[in-house]
Structure formats: C-alpha cells, structure tokens
C-alpha cells in the first residue's frame, strides 16, 4: 500500500483484499472481552476533524485505541483553527508531535492531499468535501462481502444525490475495482455530468431496479437542497424512495447513514433483515483498525524497525507539473 490513503484510486484490488482480510482478523478481536491489541503501542494517531462527524470520528477513535495507539482528537471548533490559523500551519504544528498517522476530515475536496504534502505522517482521508470517503467504501465492501460471501459480479445500484456525495464517488470506484457492476440512479439534477467516466452506468428512474443485487441509497441532504435541485422532498420520495414495493426479497439495502426515514428509505426497509445499515456501522471500527494497521504496521518488519519514511523533497513543496 501507499503511505497515505487519500482516495480509493490509491488502492489496488490486492490492497483492498488485504485490508478486508485484516479486518476479518480484527473482527475476531472485537468478539473478545478485552478488545485490545498492542500493535501500535507508543505510536500517535491524530484525529483532525474540520467538519462535524459522529460515526467516522468515533470509529476512528475506537480503532486507534484498540490498536493501543496514543490518540489525540482535534476538532476545528475551539482549536487554533478558530483563531485563524492556516491549514498548513495547523498541520505543521501537529506534525511536530511526530504522529504516525493523521486522520483528516475537511469540507474541501483535495484537502487531505494537501495535508499529505506537509507532514511525515501517514494521512488518512476521512472525507474531503464532495470528493471521497475511502474508508466508508472499504467498510461497505467488507460488510457486503461478509453477508454475500463475494463481491465479484454483484450488481450494485447507487441511488440518490450522487452530485453531492463523496460516498458515491468512493463507492463507484471501490465496487468497480472489486468486479461489481455499478449503476448510479437519481434525478438528472443530482447526477454530475461526466460521471460515466468513473465506470458506471447512469439511470434516472428506478424502472430497472430489479436487476440490482444491492441497492445503496444515499443520504438526501436537506442542507444542500436549498439550490432547488429537486422540487420537493415529497416528489423525490415518490420517484426514488426505496420502499417495500420497490425492493425485491432477494435484494440487499445499504446506506452510509444518517438515514432520513421516509425520504430515501422507507421505515419498513430500514428495519428489514435485508438492510445492512447497522452492520455497516459495526464494520466501521474493524475496517478502520485494518486501515491503520496496513498503513502503519503492515509493511515488512524492516519498515517497522525504521519507523516511518523520511521527509522527501516532494513532501514539503508543491511539485511542478
């Protein structure tokens, strides 16, 4: 694996297989009464969140603690960011504590990539604007593979607000890399122009939803609907809600959370055994443990002895094209 996890694009299929396999072994640890292993003892993980998050930040915290890392969590509100410190200065300040990894969430696309230029630590993108959320995609793959036993050949429909969804982008890439056939579906105003180039098909109605093995519903973000991307949530729900009528008994339902009950999913679907939503949340911790492990301790033993890579020239300065 590369030193950072910024995008699903950074991962080969083999890398993904390794992370999923590692997560399986951590799942065994999570079943014990003492859920802790000493792997990252003495190493520091910094959780730096510039955007509100519950499940991502708490699962990264738990993951780091179960690996025995020293954990520091920094939220933008109340920190020096509030005092006008630039991102670069914040990163250089935190890097002075010599963290092994920085888990970084930002409202801006590409921000994790910028951070990676300014630190020796491994940078894990915990969501950068509408760009990517690679660990969400990995836990989705893990959850689905646990349930179905395979990923290859599955037909996955991603339904909803693709335009504003970092989860959609990471998942289109991730499902595609693992051999799934991916279709995105939503109102034409919420499908980005050119999205086919990511390797998916585009539909604007649920007419052919029957071909899906897995329906991945996206959160309809009220706060982003101000630009009237859809005339009303009511009309959206009428056309795109996954409900008991539309869902066949053999189809599975996933959702990155938090769910708007009665908008993108009906209550009966959320509560049905076909829904993997709570399994996705459970998987968050073990998959994030696996990501930390593979980035920080997964290399050959020599690497472990040497600690992390020295700061290269390219790490400090933006490189010319």
């Amino acid at each position: 694996m590369k030193r950072h996890l910024l995008s699903i694009d950074d991962l080969t299929r083999e890398d993904i297989e390794r992370v999923l396999g590692r997560a399986e072994s951590f799942a065994e640890v999570s079943g014990r009464e003492i859920k802790k292993v000493p792997t990252l003892r003495g190493r520091t993980v910094i959780n730096l969140f510039y955007e509100a998050s519950t499940r991502t930040s708490s699962s990264f915290e738990l993951a780091a603690k179960r690996l025995s890392a020293d954990l520091v969590s920094v939220k933008a509100a109340g920190s020096s960011v509030d005092k006008g410190e630039s991102l670069k200065d914040t990163i250089q300040t935190l890097s002075a504590y010599d963290p092994a990894a920085i888990v970084f969430r930002s409202p801006h696309a590409g921000a994790a990539g910028l951070v990676a230029r300014w630190t020796r630590a491994s940078v894990i993108n915990a969501g950068d604007g509408k760009h990517e959320h690679p660990t969400q995609a990995l836990l989705d793959l893990y959850t689905l593979r646990r349930r179905v036993g395979r990923l290859e050949g599955l037909n996955v429909w991603i339904v909803g607000d693709v335009l504003h969804s970092r989860v959609a982008r990471s998942n289109i890439l991730a499902f595609g890399r693992m051999g799934c056939q991916v279709t995105v579906c939503g109102p034409p105003t919420l499908i980005p122009r050119g999205v086919e180039s990511l390797g998916c098909e585009v539909r604007t109605t649920l007419d052919d939803l029957g071909e899906a093995d897995v329906v991945y519903a996206l959160r309809m973000q009220h706060e982003r609907m101000a630009g009237s991307f859809v005339p009303s949530l009511r009309e959206y729900a009428t056309r795109y809600q996954i409900d008991g009528r539309r869902l066949a008994p053999n189809q599975l339902v996933m959702h990155p959370g938090p769910v708007n009950r009665g908008v993108e999913l009906s209550a009966e679907v959320i509560d049905s055994p076909q829904a993997l939503i709570t399994h996705q949340v459970e998987s968050g911790v073990v998959v994030r443990m696996a990501v930390l492990y593979e980035l920080l301790a997964g290399g050959p033993p020599a690497d472990l002895m040497q600690g992390h890579a020295p700061l290269s020239a390219e790490a400090s300065e933006p490189q010319p094209a």
Binding site: K88, H108, G110, G113, L114, G194, V195, P318, P320, A321
Partner: protein, 464 residues
C-alpha cells in the same frame, strides 16, 4: 433619415488614438544599434536578418546586416542568432494596485511584463478600491508616471464598485484617461445594465471589455464541468455559462451598434458564437490566454490550486477550438490575464483558493514551446497575436517599420529554461507553467524608446 444615420461606431478602433493615455516613468530615450537579429514583423512584412537603429524613441533605420554604423553614443547589441519582434501588448493584467500591493504593484508588474517581452499593458480595475472614479484613476496614473517600467493603460469599471447596479461616470473617466471599461472578474449580470453601458459608450468612446459568465450557471463552480469535476466531486462551471452571456452581449452590441471585447475566451461554444457574430458584422473582438490555449482540466486532477482560474481550464476540444480561433483571427489577440496571488492563499484547498495565475513572464515561451515548435501555429502568427492586444482599444500595434515608436523584444529561440528556476520578476509566483522546461527566452525589451528589460546574463556590446 434612418434612426441610426449619422451615428458612427465609437471611434475606439483608430490605431494609436489612445496612445496618449498610457503612462510610465520618465526615462531617457535610448540610442541602440541592434545588429544581426532576425527581424520578424508580419504586419510590416519583415522576416529576415537586418540591423536596426533605435534613436529618439523611434525606429530610426532598418538596414541590411552589417550595413548600419552605430550612431554616436549608441549601445551596440550583438543580436546574432536572436530574433527581434515588435514588443508585445497585453490587454489584460492585474496589477493589484491599489489594495493588494503585497501581491503586485505597478513597478513589479511592469517589470514582469518587460521581462516577458511586453512593451505595453492594460491594467484591470478590480482593485480595492475599484477604479470607478476619476480621482482613483488619476492617482493611479500619477503613480504609473513614477513607477511603471513600460507604458501602462488603466481601465475603469463599467459599474460603481463593479456591483452591476449603476454606471460609472464613464465620460469623465474617459476624459481622465481610462483606456477602456470593464467589470473584469465579474460579469454584467443584468442585460439592461449592459444595454445602458453600450448606449453610454457613444459618449465615452471607449471599448467595453467583458468577463463573460452567467452567475446562475456558474453557481458555486470552481472548475470546468466535465469528467474531471465528476471524478473530484467538485461543482463545475459549464462551458455554456460563458457562451450564453457572449451570445446575449453580441446581440445587444449589434442592436446598440456598440463595440465589445470578450476577455479570456475559454469554451468551444463561445468561439462558435463569436464566429457567427463577426460574420454578421458585429463589432466584437476577443482574446485568448496562453493557459487556456495550452492546458486543460486534466491539470486539475491533483487539485493543485495553481491551476484554478476563472474561466477555468476546459477540456481538450475547447482547447483545440481556441487554437483554431487564434489561427482564424476570431480570437484576435493573446492576453495573459496575469493574476498574482499571495502564496498562502494559493496553499488553501482548491475550492477556497482564489482564482488566477500569473503569466506575463512565460506567455511567449509557453506558446512558442507548445504551439510553434510542434508546428501547430506559425511563429509569425503568434507574434502578431501577441502584439495585437491594444488594437481593440485604439492603441497602436507595435511594429519594427522605420519611424514607428521603438518597441522591440529580442528573443533567443534556442534558449531552454525552467520556469521559476531564477525566481520571478512578479511579486507572486502562482504561475501555471512553474517547473516546466520552456524554449525561447526574452533577452531584452525596449518599450517606447527605452530599455525596459535586459536579462542579467545577457552581454551587452561596447558603447560606440
């Protein structure tokens, strides 16, 4: 009489009519013998080795190589192996003065221009405060007379504060020396306001330069809308955002018999609209920038804010259409839209970093390396488009013909260099071509009769 009889187009097209409105610091006129350079000036029909004597601010003599004697006290420049072009004119430069002198000022901006081979530039009015009153304009002109290395013309805003609500005192601003009017950086969102500006143009007698985009279509876009924006999840600025505004404004210009200049054309659709308008006789000119001619949205893949500008880098078919437009003349001049930004601002994430790139020091070399060397455009044509920037505004086009004002740049077409290796003359370093190896280096620039730039390593001959 027809309703339009007796009305003429605003007389902004008369070559040289507004040269008097350019300002620069007082500098004695140089006497120079340039010997043995390859003169290339397509408009004057010059293409071959010759000697050139500049004296008293003008081209005093042009003669066969070795035929001219150096006048008394002349600097002799041995230009064997170099090309001499008429100095370039950039109609679109942000000097950031007043307000952001940390990013650029009149001295550094004109120095950067001279280093790029420019003999004159036009400065945009989107400063802080905006150039929307004669008092701001006159104070800038006074500063330029103290600091500018090459002649600078100042443009003034079309609307007060560039808010698009109320016209500036365009007639008084024109009298005070505004070379043109523009709300550059922002479109004139109201068609009614645009129409009034065109009506008032009859009084102000200056061209109106337009930054064209429909704010509702651009919305919160930060890059070209296309495959790359879909991959990155970033809000896109569709190419039609530009084209629909240009279509609106050529119709308004036709109706009001006005004259407009479209700035930094970026989209294929816009080139089509311009072609049709020109064929229909609309008085519309347009410019293209080196970055739109040479780069595409592929550059944005890694979210380097150095590639963030407005209009955005577009897709390959757009780029090809721009090249065709430069070739055909629909895009009659090349402008850099030199837009300096502070380093810390460009180090922010792409979505919040400011838009704009510097370009004065690299324009010729980038175009030469990427378009002339591979045989896509003729050298003569590129030189012509680089010198033509003042023409839409009633400024004269530099030429090497005898008796013309002495505007010359000497270029070594064989020299390779890496952009940024020796720093920049500009106060900012947000150059879209930073780190690239380019061919073609400006060795010396003479602007309106005086030596405005001389590369430090460029050996000068003995004084005769």
């Amino acid at each position: 009489m027809s309703p339009t009889a007796g009305r003429t187009l605003p007389p902004v097209g008369q070559a040289g009519g507004l040269d008097h409105a350019l300002d620069r610091q007082p500098t004695p006129k140089a006497t120079v013998l340039i010997s043995g350079a390859h003169l290339l000036d397509p408009r004057a029909g010059l293409d071959g080795p010759a000697d050139l004597i500049l004296r008293g601010g003008a081209v005093a003599e042009v003669g066969a190589p070795g035929s001219l004697e150096a006048p008394e006290g002349a600097e002799v420049v041995d230009a064997e192996g170099l090309h001499a072009f008429p100095a370039f004119v950039d109609p679109h430069v942000h000097l950031r003065t007043p307000g952001r002198e940390d990013e650029e000022d009149i001295e550094t901006g004109t120095r950067a221009a001279a280093a790029g081979g420019y003999g004159a530039i036009l400065a945009m009015p989107n400063t802080d405060p905006v150039v929307d009153s004669a008092s701001v304009l006159l104070s800038l002109r006074e500063r330029a007379r103290a600091e500018a290395r090459i002649p600078v013309g100042f443009t003034a805003a079309v609307t007060m504060g560039q808010r698009g609500e109320q016209l500036t005192e365009m007639a008084e601003l024109a009298d005070a020396g505004a070379v043109a009017f523009t709300d550059d950086g922002l479109p004139l969102r109201s068609a009614g306001m645009m129409r009034q500006a065109l009506q008032y143009q009859r009084l102000a007698e200056r061209n109106i330069a337009l930054h064209e985009e429909d704010p509702a279509l651009s919305a919160d876009g930060v890059m070209h809308e296309g495959e790359v924006s879909a991959l990155l999840g970033m809000a896109g600025i569709p190419s039609i955002s530009e084209a629909v505004m240009v279509a609106r404004d050529v119709e308004l210009a036709a109706y009001e018999e006005g004259r407009i200049h479209v700035q930094h054309v970026s989209a294929r659709e816009t080139v089509d609209v311009l072609e049709r308008a020109r064929a229909a006789g609309v008085a519309v000119t347009a410019e293209a920038t080196p970055h739109h001619l040479l780069l595409t949205d592929e550059c944005v893949r890694h979210l380097d804010a150095r590639y963030k500008m407005n209009p955005p880098l577009r897709a390959e078919p757009d780029r090809q259409a721009l090249i065709d437009g430069v070739r055909s003349g629909v895009l009659g001049c090349i402008a850099t839209d030199h837009a300096p930004h502070a380093r810390e601002e460009k180090e922010e994430p792409f979505e919040i970093a400011p838009m704009g790139v510097t370009g004065l020091e690299t324009a010729f070399a980038a175009l030469y390396t990427e378009l002339v060397v591979p045989g896509i455009l003729d050298l003569g044509l590129v030189v012509e488009r680089l010198t033509a920037g003042g023409e839409p505004f009633g400024l004269s086009v530099p030429t090497l013909a005898k008796d013309a004002s002495a505007n010359v740049c000497l270029v070594d077409l064989g020299a390779e260099w890496e952009v940024g290796e020796g720093g920049y003359e500009s106060r900012s370093s947000n150059c879209a071509f930073a780190g690239r190896r380019l061919t073609g280096r400006v060795r010396m620039t003479i602007a309106a009769g005086t030596v405005a730039f001389r590369e430090r390593s460029f050996a000068i001959g003995a004084v005769a």
